[in-house]
């Protein structure tokens, strides 16, 4: 071990393991994480692979698929042995372990973090029974398509249509324009053979807004796109070049009636539309992913500051005092200023991630019993937290790169690749400015409610207190 680093460790005033246990959520959780990392890395980490940074775009995808398959084979084995739950999948995929194994993204992640959760959250019990089993054992690979070429965060503007035909008891899915082509979903291009498609539902001549439909994209044997399915990859991106992001056009594709996820709204055989208790229920998947994203960002910031801090301990530079050796750059206040806010951000965001995760679970449980009161508050919070945390994370990774000088510019430092992954989160799952405006809408409404003397929900209750003070 480098002597400077060793000295730093010798001088540490607290018990490092104690803090690690807290960050993991307890001694047991640390042990579980370590075991998981050990098992996965032993089997999947291969130092003899050609470094992914020197591969072509096509080779990157092929290598990502190969690694993802090995990883999922392992998950399947774990599942058989230990009845592994969703938490473990997320720990393997969404966390830093997943990104270490899968490098610049993974084409099967959305299968676990969106396809399965959406079916669980929005499918009927029968639909769950039919689809979840097949999805869990990877008989099918799914993804989730919402964003269109011409339509992003504003989901009411989506153009893809699903028109019910009572004569055949089928929905006809159609992309009427180029701008209605689905655009961006990971794994959509050449990996998934099923997809949840968000489309405007038409039945009995009326539009009922967006609803989720399961669409088969490719033949389960040959993997050839099915008739009417126009599918392919969207091309090279700033980062995430292993995620196989795709486009999808639908030319009058017919699917059975029960391929619409009907836990909330329903279309009966005769075409009668049965309304959901709340039109907001379809926002569930988006909120779930935004909440998850906050946690993901913590992992990236933790990685970036670990790299930059250790580097700052071993790097010596300049000679501020004559006849003395070059100091560690970690001794410069400007360097500390760059690094320490990153370290503190990990703790701040981790605390907030846990807090909003609890709130998400509580609100979801309330929704199950028909209580939607806190849904707008959670939506507003998840929007702005996602926006601020991803923006701060991107800034933090970039600051860590700069803290490593020219060496941080090397792809081998892993900081540029990490920046690509983090900055992507500023635009996916809702572009940050749009999300902040959605929160603003809630805040303005809350202000108006406070002005009318109404009681506000807990996270905005300060508006009444401060607002009253200002007026008085």
């Amino acid at each position: 071990v480098n002597t400077d680093l060793q000295r730093e460790r010798d001088n540490c005033t607290f018990n490092i393991t104690e803090l690690t246990n807290i960050l993991d959520g307890g001694v047991q959780k640390t042990a579980e994480r370590k075991l998981r990392e050990d098992t996965v890395l032993k089997q999947l980490y291969n130092t003899t692979d050609v470094p992914a940074i020197y591969l072509s775009h096509k080779e990157k995808y092929e290598a990502a698929v190969k690694k993802a398959c090995a990883m999922f084979q392992m998950i399947r084995k774990l599942q058989e042995e230990e009845n592994t739950g969703m938490e473990n999948y997320q720990a393997l995929l969404g966390g830093s372990l997943g990104s270490a194994i899968l490098g610049d993204g993974n084409p099967i992640t959305l299968h676990y973090v969106m396809f399965i959760p959406t079916i669980m959250g929005q499918g009927t019990v029968e639909q769950q029974a039919y689809w979840i089993g097949r999805a869990f054992n990877l008989s099918i690979i799914g993804t989730y398509a919402q964003t269109e070429l011409g339509h992003g965060t504003f989901i009411r503007g989506l153009e893809t249509t699903a028109t019910y035909d009572p004569s055949t008891k089928e929905f006809v899915l159609n992309s009427p324009t180029l701008t209605s082509y689905k655009w961006w979903p990971g794994g959509l291009a050449h990996t998934a053979n099923y997809c949840i498609v968000m489309a405007q539902l038409y039945t009995q001549g009326k539009c009922h807004g967006i609803h989720p439909f399961i669409v088969q994209l490719r033949d389960e044997e040959t993997h050839m796109p099915l008739p009417g399915i126009k599918v392919g990859e969207i091309g090279a991106k700033l980062g995430m070049n292993g995620t196989n992001n795709g486009f999808l056009g639908l030319e009058h594709v017919r699917i059975p009636r029960d391929y619409m996820l009907m836990k909330n709204s329903k279309v009966l055989e005769d075409g009668t539309y049965v309304n959901a208790p709340s039109s907001k229920l379809t926002y569930g998947t988006m909120m779930f992913v935004r909440v998850m994203l906050v946690n993901d960002m913590c992992n990236y910031i933790a990685k970036a500051v670990t790299i930059a801090t250790r580097y700052s301990a071993i790097r010596r530079q300049s000679q501020p005092k004559p006849n003395e050796p070059e100091p560690q750059i970690l001794d410069y206040l400007t360097q500390q200023h760059k690094l320490f806010v990153g370290i503190a951000s990990v703790h701040a965001f981790k605390t907030n991630a846990d807090w909003i995760w609890n709130m998400y679970n509580n609100v979801t449980a309330e929704m199950e019993s028909g209580d939607m009161e806190r849904l707008p508050e959670l939506h507003a919070l998840s929007c702005c937290l996602k926006a601020i945390v991803t923006a701060d994370a991107a800034e933090c990774v970039e600051r860590c790169r700069l803290a490593c000088g020219g060496h941080g510019y090397m792809l081998a430092s892993n900081l540029p690749l990490m920046y690509g992954l983090v900055t992507a989160a500023c635009t996916y799952e809702g572009e940050n400015t749009v999300l902040l405006l959605q929160t603003a809408r809630y805040l303005v409404k809350s202000w108006q409610q406070a002005s009318s003397g109404n009681t506000l929900t807990p996270t905005v209750s300060y508006i009444s207190r401060v607002g009253n003070g200002r007026r008085s």
């Binding site: 607290f14 990685k303 670990t306 807090w355 937290l385 090397m410 200002r470």
Partner: protein, 192 residues
Amino acid sequence: PPWDNTIEGIVEGFYNVSAGKIGLCVAQIEKRQKSGMSYEDAWNMTSVQLISASEAHCRAIILSTYYKETQELVKTVSAELKTVLLQLVDLYVVYWAIARLGDLLRFTSISERDIEQLQNWYENTISKLRTNAVGLVDAFDIRDEILNSTLGSYDGRAYERLMEEAMKSPLNAQPVNESFHKYLKPLMQGKL
């Protein structure tokens, strides 16, 4: 209310900023509507301020949650770790107070003297954390295979790893690249 130069005071200050900004946005929208603008146009014209209000709201929530939850957490940890965790909270909250001084000056009664104290507080906290910098990142407990970085490995062999990685560049597979014979040599000999 008078400015309180404590963590609680700063968090309260951020709530004041947020509420102040939301109030201003509402007033702006109403004013624009009174001048004949539609609600949608008034909203669009106010959207830069609305984003700022939204960010202020989120900052207040993040700071407040971090502070409150850590206060609970430190009741259960060792004295040494408690000190460090509270230093991190101080650093984070004061960092954002300094970063958003303009807003605090606009919406609270913070003074020049308070700001000077904040700056000193920030610099002192940084210095206190210096000893534990490496310990704090070690506590994230990220294995080398996961960091996947020449610069951040646990053993600190950054320079050696940079050289090892450099040797993996496909260009280093041959001592002379074929482009020399194809382009450079003819150019140098005036034959291109």
